[in-house]
């Protein structure tokens, strides 16, 4: 989409140009250089960029966010030209991990990075990036941590570790990987040679803000103005928007901005309800999005929205961003002890998914998502999976085919509940499903036989009690 945007015919939008409908409208910002790759078609020419792929729905060019589970929830990945806003969790523990995975994905794919932060030196941020799982040795350790998706039994090869099939069979670690989406080991650091081989630019606010401003004051805070100029400079100098005649760029720029909106950026929306610069952040986001739309870049922003006093600003910021994800960690909240959230570290809310070049968007049907940081890997799961796993410990395996219909998300809940109720009342639990009338016959995927050890521990004498007044069940 970014490339298509740059090719919009040079019709300027200045007032004088309106009366004439000619194509040779001259704006002060003239594009004379070769356009960014693939002017009108986002097809074969753009796919040649490493680490990108076109979306199946609208042909939009996508990059991976660094977490394949998140990619899937966002409809394949993050679209180039868009902003991914991450609302930080309360103690800022998990959002830096997503931020770093995004940057690490850029290094592994050979993309150019632009890291902006007011808290940490970008060089230090890059040192702390997680190591990618690329070689065969780590596959065994990865096996246990993999995302436990309950796919139908047709996937005979991989039942539990089905994600394992996606892992590449690569032997060497190289800076350029042709795969889309990698897994990262949060406990190891990225190899130094990968960082040195990559092309990155850092923006550390305390260093940049000391120099004098050359632009006339507008209502943006100086930090934001400097950052916008820095980004625009990099985009122009390295040719990501196709306007520089000397540079022909066939690469993607990944921009990461950390803790945007925090007081360290000079913005007071986290301190006061009606600050003096309440439009600073929203203006910044608008101009940033304008820059992104006309270049081959994707941006991740983490923002401490839980600190913003004025809820209006949060709503406006959400509207001005393309994709918005909120992280909510369980630390310190009463959800930590809730058995439904056992083993999970927090919830992940997909607040907004953009509609790009389309009337509809790829909204995932699963809304209750939780994440956990298991030793090394950051996984995202459907909360109900946990509940189902616990249920499976209580109910006999013969019922699993009823309970595991994740995709219909309890749409046939009455069927499942009525069957499980019947199981207590029926003499032989294996046939309880026959008691319930349902519209289409369900295939029994388990053996149907009850293992006494796993049966409902409700009877003291080991015999099932007869329920009065029910249909007679053959023993």
């Amino acid at each position: 989409m970014a490339a298509v945007a740059t090719c919009g015919s040079g019709a300027g939008t200045t007032g004088s140009a309106v009366a004439t409908a000619s194509k040779s409208n001259v704006t002060s910002f003239q594009r004379r250089g070769p356009r960014a790759s693939g002017t009108n078609d986002s097809g074969p020419r753009l796919v040649s960029i490493a680490g990108t792929r076109p979306s199946v729905r609208n042909g939009q060019l996508l990059v991976s966010t660094g977490l394949p589970a998140l990619d899937q929830l966002l409809g394949g990945g993050l679209a180039i030209g868009t902003v991914l806003l991450i609302e930080e969790d309360k103690y800022n523990i998990y959002s830096p991990l997503l931020f770093k995975c995004f940057l690490a994905e850029g290094i592994v794919n050979g993309h150019t990075l632009l890291v902006a932060s007011a808290t940490e030196d970008p060089a230090n941020i890059l040192q702390e990036l997680p190591a990618p799982l690329l070689d065969d040795n780590s596959k065994k350790e990865f096996d246990e941590d993999v995302y436990n998706h309950k796919t139908p039994e047709s996937n005979i090869k991989m039942k539990i570790a089905w994600r394992y099939q996606l892992l590449p069979k690569m032997e060497q670690i190289g800076p350029v990987s042709s795969r889309f989406g990698h897994y990262y080991d949060a406990s190891k650091r990225i190899p130094q040679e990968l960082i040195e081989a990559s092309n990155w630019h850092g923006f550390f606010l305390p260093e940049k803000i000391s120099s004098t401003l050359k632009v006339e004051p507008c209502s943006l805070t100086p930090g934001y103005i400097k950052l916008l100029q820095f980004i625009q400079n990099i985009i122009y100098e390295e040719g990501f928007d196709g306007s520089n005649p000397q540079k022909k760029q066939r690469n993607v720029l990944r921009i990461g901005i950390q803790n945007l909106g925090s007081p360290l950026w000079g913005d007071d929306i986290c301190c006061a309800e009606n600050g003096s610069n309440s439009h600073s952040l929203t203006k910044f986001l608008y101009v940033l999005r304008g820059l992104l739309r006309t270049s081959l870049s994707a941006c991740i922003i983490t923002m401490p929205t839980h600190l913003i006093q004025n809820k209006t600003i949060i709503a406006r910021v959400t509207n001005l961003s393309d994709t918005v994800i909120g992280l909510e960690s369980f630390i310190g909240s009463e959800r930590e002890t809730n058995p439904l959230y056992k083993d999970y570290h927090g919830l992940i809310h997909i607040r907004q998914i953009p509609r790009l070049n389309n009337l509809i968007c790829d909204e995932s049907d699963v809304k209750d998502l939780a994440f956990k940081l298991k030793r090394k890997l950051f996984t995202i799961e459907w909360v109900q999976d946990n509940y189902l796993r616990q249920e499976r410990n209580i109910y006999p395996p013969g019922f699993s085919y009823l309970l595991k219909q994740k995709d219909s998300a309890w749409g046939e809940g009455s069927l499942q509940h009525s069957t499980f109720l019947m199981s207590f009342l029926a003499k032989a639990t294996a046939f309880a499903s026959r008691l319930v009338r349902h519209s289409e016959p369900l295939k029994q995927t388990g053996s149907g036989r009850i293992h006494q050890a796993a049966g409902p521990r409700l009877w003291h004498d080991g015999r099932r009690q007869e329920a009065p007044g029910l249909l007679g069940i053959p023993p």
Binding site: S9, T14, T294, R316
Partner: protein, 266 residues
């Protein structure tokens, strides 16, 4: 242009009313499909359209427009469509000093005064060309969307003034139509947005309100559309007519049905 929506609104591109202000409002959902509808509707009705697109880029509207049967690039070259791409212009205004007043001049100013340059742009775009033959039927102003102006630092009153000036010029003087999209913030107390929304809905002849379902997300019913016909100039002796439908957005069209009558449920 969605044929079903035309039927609901009882209009066709050939015999649409003139001098009307239509307000598109969305609450908890995305109402941009209505913008695409009206854009293709008026382009097919052979009107001269001025599109102030502040929210998305030109290529986005173009690609969706092609699905709905209009080609924005061709319309722009022919002179039928005047397109102000907010995102691109904002970058231009912000990084380069402009010699002449730019429609989005307020981005550079510390205390944004008014939207006069933007109004001048609209007036310049829609003024009738004295070429003798009338190529276009009537002018139309399309704004997507007005809440962005609030986010960019304009006050609600300044935006209302802009709408008033545009209405006087486009609807009354040039006998054209206006279509405006405003987000409804809902339970977030955005006072400026509420002022703006109330002000514009008071002046509008037709209000289309896209709401998310009260029960939450549903795969088969994407939302609810409320249509309200108003007569702001005449005293409301008769009650304003209002209809409610639910809709599902598909790849190239939107299907409407009465509440609870979704084909998926029946």
């Amino acid at each position: 242009m969605f044929v079903e929506l035309n039927n609901l609104l009882n209009t066709t591109p050939d015999r649409a009313e003139q001098g009307k202000l239509t307000l598109l409002c969305d609450a908890k959902t995305d109402g941009s499909f209505l913008v695409h509808h009206f854009l293709s509707f008026y382009l097919k009705a052979n009107c001269k359209v001025c599109f102030v697109a502040l929210f998305q880029s030109f290529s986005h509207y173009n690609i969706v427009g092609q699905k709905l049967g209009v080609n924005l690039t061709v319309a722009r070259e022919r002179g039928q469509l005047v397109f102000l791409e907010g995102l691109k212009s904002a970058v231009d205004v912000f990084f380069q000093t402009q010699e002449e007043p730019h429609p989005l001049q307020f981005l550079r100013e510390a205390n944004a005064g008014n939207l006069k340059p933007l109004f001048e742009f609209v007036r310049e775009a829609l003024k009738p060309v004295d070429s003798g033959e009338a190529r276009w039927t009537y002018p139309v102003l399309l704004v997507d969307d007005l809440s962005v102006l609030l986010s960019l630092g304009m006050g609600a009153v300044a935006v209302l003034d802009f709408i008033h000036y545009c209405r006087a010029t486009v609807c009354w003087e040039l006998k054209g139509n206006m279509v405006i999209l405003v987000h409804d913030s809902g339970d977030v107390e955005d006072e400026e947005n509420d002022i703006l929304l109330n002000g514009v809905s008071h002046q509008s002849h037709l209000i289309l309100r896209a709401e998310g379902l009260a029960t939450g997300f549903c795969r088969d019913v994407h939302g609810q559309l409320r249509i309200l016909w108003r007569r702001p100039s005449q005293p409301t002796a008769q009650r304003d007519q209002s209809l409610t439908y639910q809709y599902k957005i598909q790849d190239k069209s939107v299907s409407f049905f009465a509440k609870g009558m979704s084909p998926a449920v029946l």
